[in-house]
């Protein structure tokens, strides 16, 4: 089992047993809840269920790591710089507008 401090799954919680009628989360449930989990918007009970699932599910931990890395990677890939001629046109445009407004 891989461990991940940021995911809060380093230590096994041997606390109170879960009621028998509580359905354990499966991978699909966990993945549906990743955004809420990362935004810190889950109830303590749901967070506990999710962590229980993650503790025993290595594929979900890998999935969560890569899901969490996706925005940063996309941000790097989608950076754009304004072309010089567009920049010059922008300056010219703003100067003419400012001049006509004053």
């Amino acid at each position: 089992m891989k461990r991940d401090e940021a995911l809060g799954i380093i230590e096994r919680n041997e606390g109170a047993p879960q009621p028998a009628e509580v359905r354990m989360y499966n991978c699909k449930d966990s993945i549906n809840l990743l955004l809420q989990f990362l935004d810190g918007e889950m109830s303590p009970e749901d967070t506990q269920h999710l962590r229980e699932h993650l503790r025993g599910c290595s594929p979900c931990v890998d999935f969560l790591r890569t899901y969490r890395a996706t925005p940063g990677l996309c941000k790097k890939a989608l950076v754009a710089k304004m072309p010089k001629e567009v920049s010059e046109k922008l300056t010219e445009f703003l100067r003419s507008k400012i001049k006509s407004a004053s």
């Binding site: 809420q36 890569t66 754009a80 304004m82 922008l90 100067r95 400012i98």
Partner: protein, 204 residues
């Protein structure tokens, strides 16, 4: 220069620009034009639209300079103006959104398990390595393939860093709807990146 030093420089330029110093306003434009242009280009995927949106954004900023109290950073304020201009433009040309199921996510077994799902943990590479040009292109294409409403939310939140509230204000959508689209967009993009990292093993 640190973020705080940049904000302080912006504050000083803003104060001079609000007093009518045009060169101070031009310095603010120089400092923020790439980010505004980048946002507009990512959202519209059109260089011509991006150039026009950038012009409109800074013109709006100039026209409302006196109203800006400086509660937020100048960059954030201009960013929001740009997002609004880009969204207005998209609304004019928006085509019917593709169905949600067209976004590809992971495949589960019948019991909702990822057990048979081939995985590579590339998260550490994403943090430590410079972005590979080929991967950058794969991400660009995957972003372009997202249905408009999903791309819009993903770009505003994950690339431009707007809050859910700011996106809701800019798009007119509810926060739960925004979160749902963001999640599905992230899943689809994660899937595209995963396919890139696993292309050799999947081609075999």
């Amino acid at each position: 220069m640190s973020d705080e030093a940049i904000r302080e420089e912006d504050r000083q330029l803003l104060s001079r620009a609000q007093d009518g110093d045009v060169s101070a306003f031009e310095a603010l434009v120089d400092a923020h034009r790439d980010k505004v242009y980048g946002l507009a280009l990512r959202m519209t995927r059109s260089e011509a639209d991006a150039a026009e949106i950038t012009q409109d954004t800074f013109l709006s900023a100039y026209q409302h300079l006196k109203d800006f109290r400086g509660d937020a950073a100048f960059g954030s304020w201009v960013h929001r103006i740009a997002a609004n201009h880009a969204l207005m433009r998209l609304r004019h040309r928006r085509v019917a959104q593709a169905a949600e199921q067209e976004l590809q996510g992971p495949e589960f077994t019948e019991r909702g398990s990822l057990a048979d799902y081939p995985q590579t943990d590339w998260s550490r590479d994403a943090e430590e390595k410079a972005l590979d040009a080929e991967l950058g292109s794969a991400i660009q294409q995957a972003s372009d393939r997202l249905p408009e409403g999903y791309r819009e939310v993903f770009l505003l939140k994950d690339v431009e860093g707007l809050s859910y509230e700011q996106i809701a204000e800019a798009t007119g959508d509810s926060i739960p709807a925004i979160k749902s689209r963001l999640h599905r967009a992230r899943l689809a993009l994660r899937e595209a990146i995963d396919a890139f990292y696993n292309r050799d093993s999947r081609e075999l």
